[in-house]
Amino acid sequence: MSAHAHAVADDHAHDHGHHHKETFITKYIFSQDHKMISKQYLITGLIMGFIGIAMSLLFRMQLAWPGESFPIFEALLGKWAPDGVMDADIYLALVTIHGTIMVFFVLTAGLSGTFSNLLIPLQIGARDMASGFLNMLSYWMFFLSSVIMVISLFVEAGPAAAGWTIYPPLSALPMAQPGSGAGMTLWLVSMAIFIASSLLGSLNYIVTVLNLRTKGMSMTRLPLTIWAFFVTAIIGVISFPVLLSAALLLIMDRSFGTSFFLSDIFIQGEVLHYQGGSPVLFEHLFWFLGHPEVYIVILPAMGIVSEVMSVNARKPIFGYRAMIASILAIAFLSTIVWGHHMFVSGMNPFLGSVFTFTTLLIAIPSAVKAFNWITTLWKGNLQLNPGMLFSIGMVSTFITGGLTGIILGDSTLDINVHDTYFVVAHFHLVMGISALYGLFAGVYHWFPKMFQGRMMSKNLGYVHFWITAVGSYGVFFPMHFIGMAGVPRRYYENTAFPMFDELVDIQVLMTVFAIITAAAQLVFVYNFIRSIFYGKRGPQNPWGATTLEWTTPQEHFHGNWAGAIPEVHRWPYDYSKTYENGEYILEGQDFVPQTMPLQDGEEELQH
């Protein structure tokens, strides 16, 4: 099949070998080139990330200094912060939109969208995605959904405020909270478009990985990045449609009077007509996506970390096949664990038992991955570039955050920490911070590939990493204790409960760390923008990597390789491989590119 694909790709090359006449619009706006689309995804994602993180600072300030007046609140929130004191409704809206933006717009589209687009064609040796047009459509639908989500911030009654999980009836009834009016409608419309965008993207990734690999690129010669993106796309295709159906049914309940999720409601002095629906059904549908979604977020980060870590350790990734197997195991299990979000939802406790079992099983492949990363560092020659630091940081936060999952995944223990700050601390470390570290690792590592060989400043990168690393733990480690003190999440302030009075010091500490950490991201923004224009050009293959993307010229053109697509002869992790006499395979070079045929006397050891 590969050979056939190769032939097709060669034909394809003739279309693209000659430069099209490209206008500004076809090159920069409605581009069908995967490299440009990946940059569009990245920059849109980063802008959304800026909004999402800024929101978190606002509500962290409210938590640390409840009811205090801040001029910044009045400036940014306007009528929602009379005299600079944040309103309780807008607090919930900020929390909701922060969650939505970070999970979907930054860590799904911004992370997976960026690097799947950039790396799938480049690392498998393809001229572009299977369908450049669908790819373009996917990005513009994502852009449209981002715009709608941002617009929803400005509607009169406020944006959606029912939490990012938008459980009905709260999200269904404008009488229950103002944000469930036009704000929620726009939220649902935005997400419906987002889902369509995600599906178009995912189908494209799957088809491209299966069909357009270059000659010699068998599935077991794929870099782990590609495996991660490929499997991520599959679980996206399986689970996102379920969210779409949940959203559609919710739209029906909201606008057309159906009763899928609503029953027996008495609100504001009147009984509503809804009868026979169940909010628990919505929870099942939502988490059928919602749980795989957290793996959609973390798997690409895992793939990126595996690749960046191996390159910079100058060592093969330890246990390549085990890594693939664990990606597959995690992906499979991720679709059958959603019920662990619902242990106390009122569903049958027996079902809870089953979900506890599957949930704790997922710790096994996760543990294998963590151990394999640690072993990859062992006896390496670690090149501590910023990308490498973020990769090591990701393993650290993934372990710290993942371990508390053992408590939350246990239905018994979940009873008392469910929906407390313990959960918030857990998922921010294990999927929020870890996935962001994966994103940063990828940006630092592949920046030269995105921007014509220019590199980001490593020193600013070091400053960015170390402040972020300290700050993230500073925010989220003490947060576990708040949760174990019994503080529920999504509380506008904790002053209504004297038992929480003494926690204010921790809240202040976390908020100070949050502000410092967020400020450190400005270093990244500065570095990113500056490097696009003034970054130093490095060599074609700055990190000494084996994979195919570094065989392409620095200058971008549609089609990636000027001549024929290179053929692949080995797996992507031949770092520091030696002959029996201890000499490197290629003299004076501690890596062997995938395009290099097996040398005389060289054994293909690894798989």
Binding site: A88, A162, Y167, P169, L170, A176, L262, D264, I265, F266, G269, S278, P279, V280, A313, K315, P316, F318, G346, G352, T356, I364, A367, F371, I374, L382, L384, N385, I392, S396, I399, L403, T404, S411, T412, L413, N416, H418, M455, K458, N459, Y462, V463, V470, Y473, G474, F477, G486, P488, Y491, Y492, T495, A496, P498, D501, E502, V504, V512, I516, Q606
Partner: protein, 353 residues
């Protein structure tokens, strides 16, 4: 205290930034020789040492947090099943911290030890089936133990049955308050549905007036529970999702409009006994010191506090979600019966209107 913390954090950050700039400068000197954005020997060395320092930071943060914050954690459980819960939690934490300490040490120590040096050769080490088998099988065994233990406890806790003559109590949630209903003399709740709510007759829970079981029901705004008697909660909501969270009893169940959810536990410590516990006395002292400070500054929320069990809403339910609570009082069975007999029955309140 807040100020001290804030200042110490700022000082630490200032030191960190100062160190950064030093590194920055040092690498600038080097940069003259290698003008590249790829890490050189000096970068590897600096960041290698910082990796080790970061390991120390993680450990110190852990120790600091436990030293300063562990007294904030919820006190020992006040329910019969809470003891099992706390034991399982303790053991899970022991396992977690062993794994955390070892893995973080390995990760950061390796990052320090094997930091790149010119001329250093990495070991081509791609596979080791035995190693991988070991670190697959160890989690399997440990997790199997935790799963079995957890499921055993879960099945016990969630088995809501009518054995041992449980007290039947309805918890009723609405934006943004709680109501409790007792079965009365017959310990049976009358049928209820939101469609039978009649505000004019003060029938706020929609109890069926024609159901004889409901006539002796007792509707209150403060939850009293007898010590040592099993309580079966029947939980309802009239508008949106809420969650009945009773952290001191290790109890939580969502309130779902359209269905009746259940939870059951036996309170084992009365409110009065709880107030005598040393850790609670200390907590109250600490809290009242803060509140006295507020009183001195003329701020709100400064009345002295006395410990009470509390029922919180723990599922986002709207604007005043953060203040949806009900006081819980656990007392001896005699006191409880005394209190209950003083409350008007449903028939009395409806007739009275």
């Amino acid at each position: 205290m807040t100020a001290v913390l804030t200042i110490s954090v700022l000082v630490l950050v200032a030191i960190a930034i100062w160190q950064m700039t030093k590194i920055f400068e040092l690498s600038q000197v080097k940069a003259k020789t290698s003008n590249s954005e790829v890490a050189n020997n000096e970068d590897n060395k600096n960041n290698g040492y910082l990796m080790f320092a970061f390991l120390v930071f993680i450990y110190l943060l852990t120790i600091f947090s436990f030293w300063k914050y562990s007294k904030f954690i919820l006190p020992e459980a006040a329910s019969a099943h809470g003891g099992q819960y706390d034991t399982l939690m303790l053991w899970s934490f022991v396992i977690i911290f062993i794994v955390q300490i070892i893995t973080q040490a390995l990760l950061h120590y390796f990052a320090f030890k094997y930091r790149g040096k010119e001329g250093q050769k990495a070991l081509f080490y791609a596979d080791n089936d035995r190693l991988e088998f070991i670190w697959t099988i160890i989690p399997v065994i440990v997790l199997a133990g935790l799963i079995l233990w957890g499921l055993y406890t879960w099945t016990n806790i969630m088995d809501v049955n009518e054995e041992d003559d449980p007290l039947i109590v309805e918890l009723y949630a609405q934006q943004f308050n709680w109501t409790a209903r007792y079965g009365g003399d017959d310990n049976v709740l009358g049928d209820a549905n939101v469609r039978m709510i009649d505000i004019n007759k003060a029938n706020i829970l929609g109890v069926d007036e024609s159901d004889p079981n409901g006539a002796d029901d007792i509707i209150v705004k403060e939850l009293h529970l007898p010590k040592g008697r099993k309580v079966n909660f029947k939980i309802r909501s009239q508008d949106v999702l809420h969650s009945a969270y009773m952290p001191h009893f290790r109890a939580q169940m969502n309130c779902v409009p359209g269905m009746i959810t259940e939870f059951s536990f036996t309170p084992t410590v009365t409110t009065a006994e709880m107030r005598q516990r040393p850790e609670i006395i200390e907590k109250v002292q600490r809290t009242n010191a803060i509140r006295a400070e507020r009183a001195a500054m003329g701020e709100p929320n400064s009345d002295p506090w006395e410990f009470d069990y509390v029922l919180l809403c723990n599922k986002i339910c709207g604007k005043s979600h953060y203040n949806m609570q009900m006081k819980i009082i656990v007392e001896s069975e005699e006191d409880f019966n005394q209190w209950l007999s003083e409350q008007p029955t449903f028939a009395e309140t409806v007739a009275g209107k």
